[in-house]
């Protein structure tokens, strides 16, 4: 192709001429100002002194220390409702006792715990700690290890809390509690405090219920459990062990004014695969119960545990302690989806348990006297209703493991006997109660796992508290079970920031020794660690007044990380953009400036509606596109007119 000099040049000159006609797009800045983006990260921060509590998170989030904060030592009370307290079913005031520990007062801390929780020792070892998952510190790094701090408080029990106890006069009413588990014991404690006479029936030889038989001793030592039980026993509770109550209604007439059903969940769920009826296939709960009650069980060398919850971890670690050489855990999903505590999984792996993720048993069969499990590999599919990715089996990926025992630890559920005669759900696994925990029979109440299904200790405690209130009201009391056990403490001073360290590691006994016995694995923190850990609490309810809030404006890069990290929403990006100084000192912005700075909606979408729309360069093409649209519409109408004709 021959190309003639000049054509392209003329084409180009046409384009420039066209742009000349289009007219300038210039913004005449000092007179004419653009609206900035709503999320503009301008050259300042806006700071809300009312919301800021002086937790120093923003200072630590800054990549290069552009923010400098100084706070007063003396706090002031800001709010009562805190995430950790709100999230706790029993409303234990975690923030308060953590603070007590931080100021070197573990005894007072125990008093605070005792106010809401009559089973502090048991909870200190095995509580599912919903408070930690709600902890504000979680947004910074890891939540404060509240349960372990509770453990520390419990270890420092000097009985001081007893002094403030207010025991009610005996009322002469008596209550029967069926089941000496967490729910039963809690209810017993509160009813005794209200002056009622309480008798606790249990078919096991000791008190503790599921805490005794569902949780292995290396997690919850018997001493700790009995410590709590002894308190209740000392208050005059009557225990009737090895007694199985078949008909609670009959108790009502026989000297008891009210009955609480707290029987717990003791049945293991089935695997639902062929070959399950084999004698070597055990239910996880039964297995743990047998071990806890000291029965001798032969499990052999190769043990497979199916499931990924805490029960599965308990089972596998128990199996290791019983001498099994090869312990496998089969779980359908990956570790990220496992419901068990991360620490439990870590410890199980440390103890030599072989975790097989993305694997599921297909059938159990016996071949030449050897028990075998056929497994199938899975892969993660799309996200299901529970928010987790559902496992999808991979065809043709079956493999076989030789085993001696299979333990099904997927879940457990309660069975409510027919003889109770209360209203139940269809599968006989729940007692149906109203909000006051009353069943359909007047005078009979229910609490704990037989209402909830399989749940946690702290849930059971919370329910039992409600039940105790209702029973007290039913028996003519005022239903007020609140106690004040701790002495008033001044609000804690804090000279600097909360402890910036990550969560402290738990101390465990050595792996080699711990797998040989059932001694408690977790050791209590010493004073230093406990106080350091307690100091990690941000103290969301207290406000340490910020005396200095300096932003080194010449140094800040306005990356927005501080705004993002503020747990209390007290920091805003600012849409300010007009600042230039003659000296470097003037670059530093002080508190007064930051309070007045205009806020932008970066990370604060609630401000979106207040801010003006951004002026866009894209708008200059508006007219052209509008014209085109109009033309098209006209064409269409013309066409339609033609068609009509």
């Amino acid at each position: 192709m021959s190309r003639h000099y000049g054509q392209g040049i003329i084409k180009g000159m046409k384009v420039t001429l066209k742009n000349l006609v289009r007219g300038p797009i210039t913004v005449q800045y000092p007179e004419e100002k653009l609206n900035l983006a709503k999320r503009e990260r301008g050259i300042s921060l806006a700071w809300n002194p009312e919301k800021c509590i002086g937790c120093y998170t923003c200072e630590d989030a800054c990549p290069h220390h552009s923010i400098h904060i100084e706070t007063s030592e003396q706090p002031k009370q800001l709010r009562k409702l805190l995430p950790c307290i709100m999230k706790c079913p029993a409303k234990v005031e975690a923030a308060k006792y953590v603070r007590a520990i931080a100021t070197g007062n573990p005894e007072e801390a125990l008093s605070i715990i005792r106010e809401q929780l009559p089973l502090p020792s048991a909870c200190a070892y095995v509580c599912a700690h919903p408070c930690e998952s709600a902890c504000t510190r979680k947004t910074v790094d890891n939540p404060v290890a509240i349960r372990k701090l509770k453990r520390y408080a419990v270890e420092h029990d000097d009985g001081r809390w007893m002094k403030n106890v207010k025991q009610a006069e005996p009322t002469g009413k008596s209550v029967a509690i069926i089941g000496a588990g967490p729910a039963g014991l809690t209810a017993a404690y509160y009813l005794l405090r209200k002056g009622h006479k309480v008798t606790v029936f249990d078919e096991l030889p000791k008190a503790g219920g599921m805490m005794l038989v569902g949780i292995p001793r290396f997690r919850l030592p018997e001493d700790a459990l009995m410590h709590d039980v002894k308190v209740i026993e000392d208050m005059g509770c009557e225990f009737k062990f090895n007694t199985r109550v078949e008909d609670p209604k009959s108790l009502l007439g026989n000297g008891f004014d009210s009955v609480l059903l707290a029987t717990g969940a003791h049945e293991a769920a089935k695997l639902g695969i062929p070959g399950e009826d084999n004698e070597h296939v055990l239910g996880g709960v039964y297995f743990l119960k047998d071990v806890a009650l000291g029965k001798k069980i032969e499990i052999g060398n190769n043990v497979v545990i199916v499931g990924g919850g805490n029960t599965a971890m308990d089972c596998c670690r128990t199996a290791v302690r019983l001498g099994a050489k090869n312990v496998f855990v089969l779980y359908r999903r990956t570790r990220n989806e496992m419901p068990a505590d991360s620490e439990e999984i870590d410890m199980a792996i440390e103890e030599g348990v072989d975790m097989q993720y993305l694997a599921s048993p297909v059938r159990v069969f016996e071949e030449n006297g050897q028990l075998k499990v056929e497994c199938k590999k899975m892969e993660l599919g799309p996200v299901d209703a529970s928010g987790r990715r559902s496992p999808v089996p991979i065809e043709g990926s079956e493999y076989i493991i030789d085993v001696d025992t299979v333990i099904s630890a997927s879940s457990q559920y309660p069975i409510v006997p027919e003889s109770f005669g209360v209203k139940k759900n269809e599968s006989n696994s729940r007692i149906i109660v109203d909000r006051a925990m009353a069943t359909d029979i007047p005078g009979i109440y229910a609490a704990g796992d037989n209402v909830l299904g399989s749940s946690t200790v702290i849930q059971a405690v919370a329910q039992a508290k409600t039940a105790a209130k209702s029973i007290d009201t039913y028996l003519g009391g005022d239903g007020n079970i609140t106690e004040v056990l701790h002495n008033e403490m001044p609000l804690p001073l804090r000279p600097g920031r909360p402890n910036p360290d990550n969560v402290h590691d738990s101390v465990y006994t050595d792996v080699d020794t711990r797998i040989t016995n059932f001694e408690c694995v977790e050791e209590c923190w010493d004073q230093e660690t406990a106080e350091a850990e307690a100091n990690r609490c941000l103290r969301c309810d207290l406000q340490y007044e910020v005396t200095h809030y300096d932003l080194k404006g010449g140094q800040c890069v306005y990356c927005g990380l501080c705004v993002e990290s503020c747990p209390f929403g007290a920091l805003f990006s600012s849409s300010e953009y007009e600042r230039a100084t003659y000296t470097t000192e003037d670059q530093v912005l002080h508190k007064e400036h930051l309070i007045d700075a205009p806020k932008s909606s970066y990370y604060h979408s609630e401000l979106d509606s207040e801010l003006p729309d951004q002026s866009l360069l894209l708008d200059i093409d508006k007219e052209e596109s509008d014209k085109k649209k109009k033309k098209e519409e006209e064409k269409k109408t013309e066409e339609s007119v033609k068609e009509e004709k």
Binding site: G554, Y558, A580, Q587
Partner: protein, 204 residues
């Protein structure tokens, strides 16, 4: 005809070595900040030196300086692109007569220090500043130029241009918006307004 002494021309490796030692010396010498000059804003000094002719002349000259601040094209890092954006059609620095970007420092009046300054670059910046003809002004644009910004604790970064050359106006931001830069230039013009003729300074 006499032949002049041959100038010493180092080999390339030697040249590198000299450069290295120059950087090292500069780094050693410029750990302290050059103080910001705020005398000009002192009103009393201005009152004292009041002289109708000179003041009027001052105003005229300052007006010319203000009206055509030619920046030298020397931008070290990221802030370059916001400077370019400022000089492009949307914000159009040309409205103030500033679009004449002189590539040669001799003809420029304004050094816009946009971006991180490393110790390796510091001698060059110092030289560019020295090559610029009086009167000259310096704007430190962006966090890195003001204080080293996000890189200030690095082994290779000069924590602020004011360790190397005196700076007239500091503009924060990373990078500053074009409007911020224009505001900074406006601030600089205010300073130029207060400038006095050379002879007056000498007489002081």
């Amino acid at each position: 005809m006499e032949i002049a002494e041959q100038p010493f021309i180092p080999s390339l490796n030697e040249a590198d070595f000299y450069e290295g030692s120059e950087i090292k010396n500069l780094r050693h010498d410029s750990q302290a900040v050059i103080p910001d000059d705020m005398d000009w804003s002192d009103e009393t000094v201005k009152e004292l030196n009041k002289n109708i002719i000179l003041t009027t002349l001052d105003d005229a000259i300052n007006w010319a300086h203000k009206a055509s601040l030619w920046p030298v094209t020397c931008f070290t890092a990221c802030c370059t692109f916001e400077f370019i954006a400022t000089s492009m059609s949307r914000f159009d620095i040309a409205r103030f007569g500033m679009e004449v970007l002189r590539p040669s420092p001799r003809q420029a009046d304004l050094l816009v220090c946009g971006g991180t300054l490393t110790w390796k670059m510091a001698p060059q910046i110092k030289r560019i500043y020295e090559q610029m003809a009086e009167p000259k002004w310096v704007i430190a644009m962006g966090a890195c130029a003001v204080s080293g910004g996000i890189f200030q604790d690095s082994y290779a970064v000069v924590p602020g241009y004011n360790h190397i050359i005196p700076v007239d106006v500091y503009i924060p931001g990373c990078p500053p918006r074009p409007e911020t830069l224009l505001y900074g230039l406006e601030t600089l013009r205010k300073k130029i307004d207060h400038d006095k003729c050379e002879w007056e300074k000498k007489s002081k």
